[in-house]
Symmetry: C2
Subunit: 161 residues, 2 copies
């Protein structure tokens, strides 16, 4: 491998060069996402919700009027149950979702987004739309496709375990 100037290396003030490309790619991935997440957090903050709460609201909006049981939400988030329970505790406290014990199976708790929840989502649509335009604005359409494909492949090599 020939010498390359690494943008990442400058960014993290690292003196030693990366030993492998894989190392650099991995760190680049972690760092890029970190930056994106901080921006997302700032976008959500005015609406009084966090990224995870937004995620849950989106899932519930998609689920429609019937709502979804807690575990089904957790499934779609790759997330452990305890977290989701408490996440929804807080959303319920803000009246953005309702929880009702299912009558046909009393173990289940169906969660449903409220009008207020829908309004919060709506209030974020524009800003978020603009944001993902901004994030990927640096890349041409074919590059965006390439990025999507590369990330897909990385995940495929990783999903087990």
């Amino acid at each position: 491998m020939e010498a390359r100037t690494s943008a990442l290396q400058r960014e993290i003030q690292q003196t030693k060069p990366f030993q492998t490309l894989g190392q650099e790619a991995l760190l680049g991935l972690l760092r890029t996402t970190d930056i994106v997440q901080r921006r997302l957090a700032k976008i959500m903050a005015p609406a009084g919700i966090t990224q995870q709460q937004y995620n849950v609201l989106r899932i519930l909006r998609g689920a429609g009027a019937d709502g979804l049981p807690t575990l089904a939400i957790a499934d779609r988030m790759v997330e452990r149950t305890p977290g989701v329970t408490r996440l929804i505790d807080r959303l319920a406290a803000k009246d953005l979702v309702t929880r009702t014990r299912a009558t046909d199976d009393r173990r289940r708790v169906d969660c449903c987004i409220t009008e207020g929840g829908l309004a919060v989502l709506a209030s974020l649509d524009d800003t978020l739309g603009a944001f993902d335009g901004e994030v990927l604005g640096m890349l041409e359409a074919d590059e965006q496709l390439k990025l999507i494909e590369l990330l897909d492949r990385v995940r495929q090599g990783l999903t087990p375990t």
Copy 2:
């Protein structure tokens, strides 16, 4: 843009297709990193440290015997001070780092990695090396470079704010 089958869409059981490529790329980025982080957490767990603690230890190892003041560590982590203080509280509790009030400027607290800390890092080297090989194993060298480049560009378009 012609119709594409989206791997991501299947993964998150989403019924509606993505409205823009940017949206899909962004979500792919978040999701890929999420998976990587979970794997990393599992690798670190046996050593009794978290990713952030590992990060701090790496930085201190690079800093050598003189150590680094708390804020300098925070700098290299893109992280807020309060977090770092408490992070180091826990590392110090495990005797992986020492903290000494600097004599020439009594506001400063210099942090230094201990033998124990170095041993913990050493115990993780192999597994981590294998891991980044695995993560990027799906990609050819030129694809890894492409990924690195695309991520660099995304960060560049984002760094302000």
